[in-house]
Amino acid sequence: MTVDKPSFHSSASDTHTAKPKEQKSWVPIVLIGIAIAYLALVQYIPAINVFTQAFSKGVGPFLSNLSQPAFLHAAWLTLLLALISLPVNTVFGLCAAWAIARHKFPGRAIVLSIIDLPFSISPVVAGLMIVLLYGRNGWFGPWLQALDIKIVFAFPGMLLATAFVSMPFVAREVIPVLEEFGKDQEEAARTLGAEDWQIFWRVTLPSIRWGLLYGLILTNARAMGEFGAVSVVSGNIGGQTQSLPLFVEDAYKQYETEAAFSAAVLLALLAVVTLVLKEILERKTRIKDVE
C-alpha cells in the first residue's frame, strides 16, 4: 500500500505535468512561426523592400532623386497640408470631445458614430463629396467662380480632403481620457475662482495631454499619407497639386520606379517615427485601441 500510493501519485502528476509540457514545446513554436511568417509575407518583406529598392543604386542617385523640383514641391505641399490640418483638427477634436464627454444629450451615441464616419467612408467617396460641393458644377460652384476662388483641382480642395479624412483621431483619443478623468477637478478649480480659460489650460489640458498627443500623431500620419481623397480632389498636376503620396504613385506610373521609391522611403520613415512615438505613448498611458 505504502509503495503503491506514491507510485500512483507520481504517475498521475507525471501525466499531468508532462502532457501539457510536451504539447507546449511545439504548439507555441508552430503558432509563433506561422504568425511571423504571415506577418513577414504581408508586412515585413514589403517594408524592407522599400528601403532596398530606394538605395539599390547607392546613396547618390537617391539624393539626386530627392532634389528634383517636382519632388521638393510635393514634399512642401505635404508638409503644408499637415501643418494646416493639424491645428484645425485639434481645435475641432477638442471641442467635439468636450461636448460629447461633458454633456449628456439625446442622440449622443449617434453623434459618436457620426464622428467616426470619415473612417468608414471610402476616401474616394470623401473626395467625390468635395468635388460635388465645390466643383464647377457643384453646390457652391457658381458662387466660387464668381468670386474667382478655385477649390477643386487646387490646394484648398486638397486641404479640405486632408482635414476631412483625418478629422476623427483627436476626438476619438481624447473622449475616453476626458470621461475617465471626470469633472471633479474642473469643478474644484471653478469653486476656487478659476475662469474657463484657466480651467482649460491648467486643469483639463494637462490631464488629457497624452491622449491629445496620441491623437495628434495619428492625425499627422493620416494627413501626410492620405492618397485616395486627395487624389480625387487635386487633379494630380505634377509640381502644382501633387502631394508626396500622389508623387509616389505618379512616378511609379511613369516608370520612374527609383524616384517613386526614394519618395516612398521618406513616407516609410514617417510611418516608422509614428510607430515609435505611438509605442512610447502607449507605454506611458497604456492606451491600446484600434486606430
Binding site: 507555441p28 504568425a35 457620426i114 467612408i121 509614428t274
Partner: protein
C-alpha cells in the same frame, strides 16, 4: 463638414430618375466591380480573421524574442501611406520581385491581377482584426481554460468549446472593420491592380474613372452604393460589439 457633403451627394443622386439610378448602379461594369470588390474584400477579411486571431493569440499568450517589436509593427499598415504600400506590394509580388519571382514558376501571377488586389486588401485590413481581438483575449480569464483542462478536455476541445465561442463576436467585429476598410481602400489597390474592367477593377477606382470622364452622376451613383454599404457595415459593427459584450453584463 460632414452633413453638407453627404447631403450634396444624395441630392445629386436624386436628380437622376430612379430608373436611371438603378440602371447605372446595376450596369454590367458596376456589377463586375462590386463582385471584384466585395468578394475579394470578404476573402481578405476572413483570411485575416484566421491569421489575425492567431497573431493576437501569439502576442498575448506566448513570450518570445522581439515580441514587443512585432507587436508594435502590427500597426504598420495604419501608419504607412497607402500609395507606398501599393508601390512596394506591387514590386515585391511582381514577376521579378522577391516573392513574385518565387510564385511565377508555379504559374501564379499576383501583381496586376485580382490576387494582387486581395494581397493589398489583406495588408491594410490585418491590424483591424489583431487590434480588436488582442484586448479581449488579454482580459479572458485563463482559469476557465484551466478548468476545462482539469475536466479532461483536450487542447482542441478547449479551443473550440471554451475559447472560441466568447471570442467569436469579437473576431467578427474585427473582420467587419477590416472588410469595410478593404472595400473603401483605394491607394494601395489602384497601384497593384491593372484596373481592367471585369477583371480587377474595384468600385472606388470606377468612381475615380467616372470622375475623370466628368461623368459626375455615374460617379455619384456608385459612390452612394459604397456609402450605403459603409453605413450598413457601421450598424453591423455596432450590433456585433453589443453581442460581444453580452458576457460582460452577467
Amino acid at each position: 463638414m460632414l452633413f453638407v457633403p453627404i447631403a450634396a451627394m444624395f441630392l445629386k443622386a436624386s436628380t437622376e430618375t430612379p430608373a436611371r439610378f438603378w440602371a447605372i448602379a446595376t450596369s454590367d461594369v458596376a456589377l463586375a466591380t462590386y463582385n471584384v470588390t466585395f468578394v475579394t474584400a470578404i476573402f481578405a477579411a476572413l483570411l485575416n480573421g484566421v491569421f489575425g486571431t492567431l497573431i493576437a493569440w501569439v502576442l498575448v499568450r506566448y513570450d518570445f524574442p522581439l515580441k514587443r517589436l512585432i507587436d508594435a509593427t502590427v500597426d504598420l499598415p495604419f501608419a504607412l501611406p497607402t500609395s507606398v504600400a501599393g508601390l512596394t506590394l506591387a514590386t515585391v509580388y511582381s514577376d521579378n520581385g522577391w516573392i513574385g519571382s518565387l510564385l511565377a514558376p508555379l504559374g501564379i501571377k499576383v501583381s496586376f491581377t485580382r490576387t494582387g488586389v486581395a494581397v493589398a486588401m489583406i495588408f491594410i485590413s490585418l491590424p483591424f482584426i489583431v487590434r480588436t481581438v488582442q484586448p479581449v483575449l488579454q482580459e479572458m480569464e485563463r482559469e476557465i481554460e484551466e478548468a476545462s483542462w482539469c475536466l479532461g478536455a483536450s487542447q482542441w476541445q478547449t479551443f473550440w468549446k471554451v475559447i472560441l465561442p466568447p471570442l467569436f463576436p469579437t473576431i467578427l467585429t474585427g473582420v467587419a472593420l477590416g472588410f469595410s476598410r478593404a472595400v473603401g481602400e483605394y491607394g494601395s489597390t489602384v497601384i497593384i491592380s491593372s484596373n481592367t474592367p471585369y477583371q480587377d477593377l474595384i468600385a472606388p477606382v470606377l468612381i475615380f474613372q467616372r470622375l475623370e470622364q466628368y461623368d459626375y452622376s455615374g460617379a455619384t451613383v456608385i459612390g452612394i452604393v459604397l456609402l450605403l454599404i459603409s453605413l450598413v457595415m457601421l450598424l453591423a459593427i455596432n450590433f456585433l460589439q453589443a453581442w460581444a459584450r453580452r458576457y460582460d453584463s452577467r
